[in-house]
C-alpha cells in the first residue's frame, strides 16, 4: 500500500538532489509568472527548517529584505523551482532555527562549517 504512494512520490520528485541542512545559506531559483511572461527569481537566505518526506518535503528560507526579515516556504520538488544552490555551509546544533526569528543584525550570523 505505502509502496504505491512512495512510487508516485518518487515519480514527482524527478532528479533533484536535496543536500542542504538547516543553517546553510541557499539560493533558490524559481519561476515566477507575471501576466503571460515568465522569469526566474532568486531567493537567498538561511535554511530555518526542512519538513516532510518524499515529494511533499518543504524548506523554509529566511532572509533580510531591507530591514524586515522574510521567510518563504518552498515545496522543494515543485516543478516551478529551477535550482537550489548552496552558498555556505552553516554549523548549528538544532534542527529548527526558530531562535533566529527574534534576532536582527549581527546576532543572526551562523558559524560556518569547516
Amino acid at each position: 500500500m505505502q509502496e504505491i504512494i512512495r512510487k508516485i512520490e518518487r515519480k514527482q520528485m524527478g532528479e533533484r538532489q536535496v543536500n542542504y541542512t538547516p543553517g546553510d545559506t541557499v539560493s533558490v531559483s524559481f519561476r515566477i509568472k507575471e501576466g503571460d511572461k515568465e522569469r526566474i527569481q532568486q531567493f537567498q537566505g538561511v535554511v530555518v527548517q526542512t519538513r516532510g518526506t518524499g515529494s511533499t518535503a518543504t524548506v523554509t528560507v529566511r532572509k533580510a529584505s531591507g530591514n524586515v526579515y522574510v521567510e518563504r516556504i518552498f515545496p522543494i520538488y515543485s516543478p516551478l523551482i529551477v535550482d537550489v544552490k548552496i552558498m555556505k555551509r552553516g554549523s548549528v546544533r538544532r534542527a529548527k532555527l526558530y531562535f533566529l526569528r527574534g534576532r536582527t543584525g549581527k546576532s543572526t550570523r551562523i558559524k560556518e562549517k569547516k
Binding site: I4, I5, S55, T56, Y77
Partner: protein, 209 residues
C-alpha cells in the same frame, strides 16, 4: 455505467501542470469484473454486478460460489450491483472494466465506510460546546437540557445525544478527478475520501451540473 469499486491507498500531493500542489487521495481499482448483467426484460431494471479483487475458491462460501459458477466468473472479495440505463448494453458477463471508464469524467462521488469511533459523546459527535470547568460547574462534557418538564413530559425523538459514531456509509460528492493512471489502475482524486487506508470505496461519476 461509470462506476468502479476500489481500495483507498492513501493521500499524498502532486503538482499539476501549472506547478500548483494538489492534495490527492489515491484509489486503486485495478480491473473490476462484470459478474451478472441484469436487463429490462428479465429483471425489470438494468444493472451490472461489479466484482473487485479476485480470491481463491476456497475463500468463498457455497451460496456465493454457486452464483460465480453459474456465471462462469472468478470469485471476488467484493460484489456490488450498479444501476445503469438501457443504452448501456454491450456489457457482458466476464468482461473486465478498468479506470478508463473515467476518461472525460471531471467529478466523481465516492462512498465508503467511515472509521468507527464507538460510543461517542455529543462534543465529538455533533460538535456541541463544552461547559465551563470552574465556578462550581459540574456539567463539563454533558449535552445539557433534553427538554421541558410537565409539558411535553417526554423527550422529543431525534434529539442529538451520545451514541455510536462512525463505521457507517458516507458519500462525498463532487470530488475532482486529478489524473488517472491506466497502467496501474489508479485514480487520483482531489481531497479526502471516507474510511481508513485500504478501505473499500465505490467511485461513481457525479451528476452533471
Amino acid at each position: 455505467m461509470q462506476c468502479l469499486i476500489g481500495r483507498k491507498i492513501g493521500m499524498t500531493r502532486v503538482f499539476d501542470e501549472t506547478g500548483k500542489s494538489v492534495g490527492v487521495t489515491v484509489i486503486q481499482t485495478g480491473q473490476n469484473i462484470i459478474h451478472q448483467v441484469k436487463n429490462g426484460e428479465k429483471d425489470g431494471y438494468h444493472a451490472v454486478q461489479l466484482g473487485f479483487e479476485e480470491i481463491p475458491e476456497k475463500k468463498v462460501n457455497k451460496p456465493a460460489l454457486g452464483h460465480f459458477k453459474k456465471l462462469g466468473t472468478p470469485p471476488t472479495r467484493v460484489i456490488k450491483e450498479v444501476r445503469c440505463d438501457a443504452s448501456d448494453s454491450g456489457k457482458a458477463s466476464g468482461q473486465r472494466v478498468g479506470v478508463e471508464v473515467f476518461d472525460n469524467v471531471k467529478f466523481v462521488d465516492v462512498s465508503g465506510t467511515t472509521k468507527g469511533r464507538g460510543h461517542t459523546g455529543t462534543i465529538k459527535r455533533y460538535n456541541f460546546q463544552r461547559g465551563r470547568k470552574t465556578h462550581g460547574n459540574t456539567n463539563v462534557r454533558e449535552r445539557g437540557s433534553v427538554g421541558a418538564n410537565t409539558y411535553p413530559a417526554r423527550v422529543f425523538p431525534g434529539l442529538k445525544m451520545s451514541g455510536q459514531y462512525g463505521n457507517g456509509k458516507v458519500t462525498i460528492k463532487r470530488l475532482e478527478v486529478v489524473t488517472i493512471d491506466k497502467e496501474s489502475g489508479l485514480v487520483f482524486l482531489r481531497g479526502a475520501v471516507p474510511g481508513r487506508n485500504q478501505g473499500i470505496v465505490v467511485i461513481r461519476a457525479a451528476n452533471e451540473g
